[in-house]
Point group: C2
Chain length 341, copies 2
Amino acid sequence: MKSPPYAGFYTGRRVLITGGLGFIGSNLARRLVELGAKIILVDSLVPDYGGNWFNIEGIRDAVTLNVADIRDRYAISYLVQGQDIIFNLAGQLSHVDSMRDPYTDLEINCTSQLSLLEACRHNNPHVKLIYASTRQVYGKPRYLPVDEEHLAWPTDVNGINKLAGERYHLVYSQVYGIRACSLRLTNTYGPRQLVRHSRQGFIGWFVRQALDGEEIQLYGDGSQLRDMTYIDDAVEAFLLAGASEAVNGSIFNLGGCRPISLKEILETLLRLTGTGSYRIVPFPEGRRAIDIGSFYATYDRIHQTLGWEPRIDIEVGLRRMVDFYRAHRVHYWPQPSECPK
Amino acid sequence: MKSPPYAGFYTGRRVLITGGLGFIGSNLARRLVELGAKIILVDSLVPDYGGNWFNIEGIRDAVTLNVADIRDRYAISYLVQGQDIIFNLAGQLSHVDSMRDPYTDLEINCTSQLSLLEACRHNNPHVKLIYASTRQVYGKPRYLPVDEEHLAWPTDVNGINKLAGERYHLVYSQVYGIRACSLRLTNTYGPRQLVRHSRQGFIGWFVRQALDGEEIQLYGDGSQLRDMTYIDDAVEAFLLAGASEAVNGSIFNLGGCRPISLKEILETLLRLTGTGSYRIVPFPEGRRAIDIGSFYATYDRIHQTLGWEPRIDIEVGLRRMVDFYRAHRVHYWPQPSECPK
């Protein structure tokens, strides 16, 4: 395997990751440790969010952890100083939570993004900034696969706020010359994903239920298509973007190897676990209204610009994910009592 | 002239207008008084914004004024109760101010819109809600005329936040059944527009300078096209939308009679005033980066849905505007000293 275009780039570079104890942040940090970067992880450790100490097991001594909420304007204003690259991954990710409490979603996904950008503008205008956006900004697709020219028409408050947060980055790039870009992630999955509750994407929850031998409820008819990006592929996209000047001021879709139905994902998963089952049920009220049907994106733009493409097929990715949670489940969800039911 | 489709509709209806002492709010209120509505005007009277007591001169006894900031969550939560129709016009409108102080823009154009919608959802879910959006959400046009399918790609913080505010309305329509729609206004002009400073659109500022016999600075080369909507036409669109169920959950462009260059607008204006002059100057730093070049929209969608079209040509509109400010300038900007210079 040839060495990546960023080989050597991260050695000795000062890298800050917001949401650094979360799913993507911690996996990115692990790679950056290998690459020799000087890493600060910023995380709020809000109990219901993705931050998890165990996510940096094995690299704790190789990174600096700074517990701070992205809403803490003063801490952020200080922490951005002197950094070479910021991977800005902190966010409120739950669609359902954003409808229940739109203000918190707004504070994290809008106000705090402005704070971070203002901090960079005033204290570190030459920083390089990579924002983690989401396919959710597109809403219900008007055509498939979705490209970056597709209308942004979010179906929930979370999608609206993530879109605003992304656009702040691009306006600060355009107006102030901050070297910012945005990656629109699709369904990212893999080890270290939050699985404590079901409100941050379906895949982690499915894995947990399968491993616990439970019956999984699949909403709709299971034919909805998704493109799944394995975490290592997503991390690779961040590393490529962080080392490139060609991405500044732009947005890029990520994607998966192929569109795959929720039903096929589930059946693959259950074959791998050998435990659990599933049942198709109607959408609960409130979730149907913000459901988007099938979704998959084209990643042509990032492929052309950075040579990125997904490499890990769903079967391989799910197997690694299952192996990880089978070994470490005690760190990711409360364990059922040992007593017989 | 045949009677409008809303004839009789507003008689006795309880109507709340946020930003009710502002340019559009007050002109709308004047028509609603004629139509027999029960009107509450909510306005913050923030000194630098558009609210102006003189705007309701002549109808003061026919409306109820409630001074409250749209950011005052508790006041808004109370005031929406029992209303039949809310015209939601309160906003921070200055592109330049939004770059200087993005947090205030966010509070007014995002947080407060969420508060209003949450208030309606909990306290008045059957209300009818018309949101005043802006062409600014489109950013720099990719094609002309711009239709509602055009990408929303705002070039400043104000455009981003106005877009988020609009989309909250549509998500609350989709998810909670609030009967909300959005009108995307282009350059609206006419009597009662803020002209105290130059940060809320060029036209009012031009009129003031012309009447004061000053030299007007025109940025760029003056060839930029705009579509100008005269205030009475904009008010008509709000009245039509407020009385229609066909608009719920949708967005609609307004537009002008024809695209017209800034230079032609200025020359028409100077011919009408007989005072003032103009000079073409380069864009100042900071304004160029958020300038959008030529812009004009198609209003086909609202024409097809509501039969709306602009009726007042620029020459007629500007004459009315000039006559108004000539008669009432003392209420709209500080007068030059009587002493010789």
